[in-house]
Each structure stands twice: as structure tokens, then as C-alpha cells.
């Protein structure tokens, strides 16, 4: 009897309770909360540090230790919340290539694990030198954290550009069909055909730029030299061009839709 009831009970629970999934907005509000906490603790740390450096007394040292520990823990928590936010953004963005999605997700997971382990060590720290060592460990990762942020945000834009291109193509087909179905109602056929042609060309150029930007992103991730910043600037430029072209292509479609209505 027990063998029958237990599965029924668990199955019912599975169907009746909706899984609570943290969405992007939840992640964003959590990140903002952690950032505000960090700002408060950072202010406390600065005051107490100044006092410690001035008096060098034992109570000042004890207070400075506590405040430094708090701000370091808050810094880790803020970064953890930030990486979670990036992961949520990536999850909700369609049309990111699978290998890119897997790559960034693995990195976000690994950095989050690092931050959690570090936070654990910070909480267990008893002396100032331990805090300073852990802080330096994290500071050494600063550049990697920023690169990861660039990777995640660029992938989001790449995904959105691809979705925009797909929507443009669907609309292009529908407009062409509408033109074919009512040829007698269309006066400036030549002009409309020209606009449609320009729209298609701009959309194709946009997707080409988008794909080029993706290649530049891969180059940015592998670049170790001083050229890294240049590559990043180029990536952002290509993304902007791709977006502008897609907007231009859509404007042409808008003109056509207005003219045939």
C-alpha cells in the first residue's frame, strides 16, 4: 500500500505546485540590493580604515578588521549576483549559438563557484593578513570578470540581432505576398520594388555584420596583447552597424506598408 501511495503523493505534489523560477527581474533586483549593501559597507570600511591608519590602536584595528571583512564579503556577493543576472539574461535571449551559450554559461558557473569558495574563506578569516591575501586573489581576477561581462552582454546583443533579422525576413515575405495579391491597387510599383530590394539588402548586410561581430568576439576572447581594447572597440562598432542596418531595413518596410495601404 505504502509503495502505491508514496508515488501518487509525490506525483500530485509535482503537478499541483508550480516551480518557482527566478527570472531576470528578480535577479536584477537582487543585484541592485547587493550593490546597495556593498556601497554601505564600503563607506563604513573607508571611515574605519582612516581611523585605523591615524591611531593604530588595538580597538581601531579590531574595528577596521571587521569592516574590511564585511566589505570584502559584500563585494563577493555583489559579483555573484551580477554573474547570476548575466546568466538570466543569456537564458532569456533567443538565437544565441549553442557553443557560445555553453561557453559563457560554463565560465559564469566557474567564476561563481570561485567567488563562493572565496566568500567562505573570508567568513572564516581571523586576521587582517588573511583578508588581504584573499582580497588580492580576487583583484587578480578583475580583468577576467570584466571580459566575461563583455562576452555575456555581446552575446545578448548578437542573439537579439538574429531574432530581429528573422522577424524582418518573415515580414518581408508577408509584404511581398500582399503586393502580389493586389497588383491593381499598387500605383508606384517600381518605387515599392526598389524599397523592398533596399530593405532586403540592408537586412542581409546587417546579418553579415552581426556574424562578423561574432567572429570579432571570439578574437577578443583569445586576445591577450595590448590589442584587446582595440578589438573590443571594433566589436562594439560592428554591433552598432548591424543594428543600424536592421533599423534601416525595417524603415523601408514601414514605407512600403504605408504606401500599399
Amino acid at each position: 500500500m505504502k509503495k502505491i501511495i508514496l508515488p501518487i503523493f509525490s506525483l500530485t505534489l509535482l503537478f499541483l505546485t508550480k516551480p518557482v523560477l527566478a527570472d531576470f527581474n528578480q535577479a536584477l533586483s537582487d543585484f541592485r540590493y547587493q550593490l546597495a549593501e556593498y556601497a554601505t559597507f564600503h563607506g563604513d570600511y573607508q571611515t574605519s580604515r582612516a581611523s585605523y591608519l591615524q591611531f593604530k590602536s588595538l580597538p581601531a584595528e579590531k574595528d577596521a578588521f571587521e569592516k574590511t571583512k564585511k566589505v570584502l564579503i559584500a563585494r563577493n556577493k555583489t559579483l555573484e549576483a551580477y554573474f547570476f543576472l548575466l546568466q538570466e539574461k543569456i537564458n532569456q535571449t533567443q538565437n544565441i549559438e549553442k557553443e557560445d551559450f555553453d561557453d559563457v554559461s560554463t565560465k559564469l558557473k566557474s567564476e561563481t563557484e570561485f567567488l563562493k569558495n572565496q566568500r567562505q574563506k573570508l567568513e572564516e578569516s581571523q586576521i587582517i593578513s588573511q583578508l588581504e591575501t584573499l582580497s588580492k586573489e580576487l583583484e587578480a581576477e578583475d580583468k577576467e570578470f570584466k571580459d566575461l561581462a563583455e562576452e555575456a552582454t555581446s552575446l545578448t546583443i548578437l542573439g537579439q540581432l538574429f531574432s530581429g533579422f528573422q522577424s524582418h525576413q518573415t515580414l518581408q515575405q508577408k509584404i511581398s505576398q500582399a503586393i502580389e495579391e493586389r497588383p491593381q491597387a499598387i500605383k508606384d510599383k517600381a518605387l515599392i520594388e526598389r524599397w523592398m530590394g533596399e530593405s532586403e539588402k540592408d537586412a542581409q548586410d546587417s546579418i553579415a555584420k552581426r556574424n562578423e561581430a561574432r567572429e570579432i568576439l571570439h578574437q577578443f576572447l583569445q586576445e591577450k596583447s595590448y590589442k584587446k581594447d582595440q578589438v573590443l572597440a571594433n566589436l562594439k562598432k560592428q554591433l552598432k552597424i548591424a543594428k543600424d542596418l536592421l533599423e534601416k531595413a525595417t524603415s523601408a518596410q514601414e514605407q512600403v506598408a504605408r504606401r500599399i495601404s
Binding site: 501511495i5 503523493f9 500530485t12 551580477y82 578583475d142 546583443i157 495579391e181 491597387a185 543594428k243
Partner: protein
């Protein structure tokens, strides 16, 4: 004689029932009760969902003749409605593109102090 046999059989039956109840006692009984509650909940959920699909549950009178439903016409979109839908879709696409934020402030790397130390900087 027959009455005695009947009584003995009745006693045996009672003893069997007691035995069964003993076996089901304690934890098993709790699981049975829980099982019934769960089944009851499932039945309620099913009943509610079926009622929702079927609509009103008042039975139709058998005396009134059933009306043949009017033939259903599948509305083919007119060229005008097609065009207005195109304009809506263009607007949707424009909104979709406007949402592409090349430097989303929500996703910008947080401005954190990466030189936290108690030593003089």
C-alpha cells in the same frame, strides 16, 4: 450445533479484521489517509478543469428540438485587414529593435573597489 459453528466463524472473521487493522496501524494508516486526501485533490482539480472546458452544466431540455448550428464561415482576411496587420507587425519589429540596447546600464559591470587594503595606498 449450526449456531455454534456460525458463532465460531463470526469470531474468526472478527479476529481476521482485527489482525488486518493491526497491520495497517501506525504509519501505514497515515499514508492511507494522505493517499485519500491526495486522490480527493486530484478529483477536485479534474472536476474543475472538466467543468471549465464543458461550460455550463445545466442539462439541455429533451423537449426542445435541437437546433442545427449555423454553417460556420472561415473568415478569410481581406486585403485591408492584411495591410493593417502588416503595419502592426512593422511596429512590433521596430519596438523589438528599439529594445536592443548596445550599452544596457543594467548589465554594466559594477563599479567596485578593487584595491581594498588596510595598508596605506
Amino acid at each position: 450445533m449450526i449456531n455454534e459453528e456460525e458463532q465460531i466463524e463470526e469470531k474468526k472473521g472478527l479476529e481476521k479484521a482485527k489482525g488486518v487493522l493491526k497491520n495497517l496501524g501506525g504509519k501505514n494508516l497515515t499514508f492511507i489517509v494522505l493517499g485519500f486526501i491526495v486522490l480527493f485533490l486530484i478529483l477536485i482539480v479534474l472536476a474543475v478543469s472538466l467543468a471549465g472546458k464543458k461550460g455550463p452544466t445545466t442539462p439541455r431540455s429533451t423537449l426542445t428540438p435541437t437546433l442545427v448550428p449555423p454553417p460556420q464561415f472561415i473568415e478569410t482576411p481581406t486585403p485591408e485587414s492584411q495591410i493593417s496587420s502588416l503595419e502592426t507587425e512593422v511596429n512590433n519589429l521596430k519596438e523589438e529593435l528599439a529594445k536592443i540596447n548596445l550599452s544596457d546600464p543594467n548589465l554594466t559591470f559594477p563599479n567596485l573597489d578593487f584595491l581594498i587594503t588596510l595598508q596605506p595606498k
